[in-house]
């Protein structure tokens, strides 16, 4: 890197700090936009080739099928290079392990390699109560009641110890997070370990289970009455007048009309399309490789 360019970058960082009031993360970090501008600039003598967008257009269901490929919506936590490397790793993992699509409310069976188990693997069946994170850090929680005691296990989707992911029942619920199952009747979170998988015809829409559960007596694990839940009823009979008034006071019914808030908490349409088309391209490439692979000669 030339002395001139180094000085330019240094001055840019200083300018950003002064004018934008942006906190710098590392002293040598540059914003993507600034870097791109200098790369493309006519003045730059070691111009680099900018990447072109892949011409593939991803199918429409990709956004639902691969939500973990979309990066964190919080721009402060984003880093495009890390995201790209992570996506590469995720696809490599998916080439080895079949990860089907599932949602909170679906019933899953996870097989994990376990050095202490007699067969060297451990299988757990449960209802998915939450799906968090993105990229390689995607995780989900399974819940089941075994021997009259509730057990929950958080799994990392891209953990290399996972051997098999089976979806026994593909389903959605009225809410995105089902932590309230902890305070409901245990029969609603009890599932047989030898459960037969329910077939889901490919291409069919995901069925939504509109079951509404009755919440149990207090004390509760969380303040369910403050969370706008659709899948729970009978909350009011456990509340005092003061709590009802407080819940009304703290409610934010205008939140869904806040366009800026939804914009800030979601990935831009153009960007998600670009990422998913990249995934689609890689998937097609992998498929071709599989088809063209010559069978091994076994003499």
């Amino acid at each position: 890197m030339s002395v001139f360019r180094r000085a330019l970058i240094a001055s840019n960082i200083r300018n950003l700090e002064c004018y934008c009031g942006v906190q710098k993360r590392f002293s040598n970090t540059l914003f993507d936009g600034t870097l791109e501008k200098h790369r493309r600039s006519e003045l730059s003598h070691d111009r680099e080739k900018t990447e072109s967008f892949p011409p593939f257009e991803a199918p429409k269901d990709y956004k639902k099928k691969y939500p973990d490929f979309l990066p964190n919506a919080d721009w402060k936590k984003r880093d495009r290079i890390t995201e790209k490397l992570e996506r590469k790793d995720m696809l490599r993992r998916r080439a080895v392990l079949n990860i089907p699509e599932f949602y909170p409310g679906s019933i899953l069976a996870i097989t994990v390699s376990d050095p202490y188990a007699p067969g060297k693997y451990n299988r757990f069946v449960g209802i998915c109560i939450a799906k968090n994170g993105n990229g390689l850090r995607t995780s989900f929680t399974l819940r089941n009641v075994v021997d009259n005691i509730g057990v929950e296990i958080l799994y990392e989707l891209y953990n290399p110890t996972i051997q098999k992911v089976e979806v026994l029942k593909l389903e959605k619920r009225l809410d995105e997070e089902l932590y309230y199952l902890r305070d409901c009747d245990p029969k609603y979170s009890t599932f047989n370990f030898n459960m037969e998988p329910v077939q889901h015809p490919p291409g069919a829409p995901i069925p939504v289970n509109d079951i509404v559960l009755k919440i149990g007596p207090r004390p509760w694990n969380q303040k369910w009455h403050r969370q706008n839940l659709k899948g729970v009823e009978g909350l009011d009979e456990h509340l005092r007048e003061v709590e009802k008034k407080l819940a009304e006071k703290t409610a934010e019914p205008w939140e869904k009309y806040d366009i800026m808030k939804t914009y800030r908490n979601s990935i831009h349409e153009e960007e998600s399309e670009r990422i998913l088309s990249e995934v689609y391209e890689k998937n097609l490439h992998n498929q071709k490789l599989k088809e063209n692979r010559k069978p091994l000669k076994m003499d």
């Binding site: 994990v112 202490y116 188990a117 451990n122 075994v146 021997d147 005691i149 958080l154 694990n221």
Partner: protein
């Protein structure tokens, strides 16, 4: 103060309302999950075992740790075999804090454990292997 009405003092909350940490420290109530008579009687009386000491350096017990409990007027040692606190990935979290009572000799008081036990405890050796011998299920 007499005759003066101070609304701030009356309506200000004097306690926190953050979610529970569910840590097992001294004074925490625990659930005996083996089939010992002592544990069952304490549960029937409505006075479950109370943690009075945690045998580790930070004073907060997790699965596999040894605790001293007060149960029915006695001091007993026990092993934690399942906790309510948020766990790391791949480690099960239970709906109650479970313990298995042991005698001073290290022999478990009961003969069977009624609930599943985290599979990663099978890696523990020494005193713990006697407890693993009476476990019925692992998750």
């Amino acid at each position: 103060m007499a005759g003066r009405f101070i609304p701030e003092l009356l309506f200000k909350r004097q306690f926190g309302t953050t979610p529970l940490l569910n840590e097992i420290r001294k004074m925490a109530r625990l659930r005996v999950v083996d089939n010992s008579i002592l544990g069952r009687q304490a549960e029937l009386e409505g006075k479950p075992a109370k943690c009075i000491h945690v045998y580790n350096k930070n004073g907060v017990g997790t699965i596999g740790d040894k605790v001293l409990v007060a149960i029915k007027g006695q001091k007993k040692r026990a092993f934690l075999v399942g906790v309510r606190q948020k766990q790391k990935a791949m480690v099960p979290r239970f709906d109650s804090n479970n313990i298995v009572l042991i005698e001073d000799s290290g022999q478990p008081t009961g003969t069977r454990i009624r609930v599943p036990i985290p599979s990663l405890l099978r890696g523990k050796k020494g005193e713990f292997s006697k407890i693993l011998a009476c476990a019925t299920k692992f998750v």
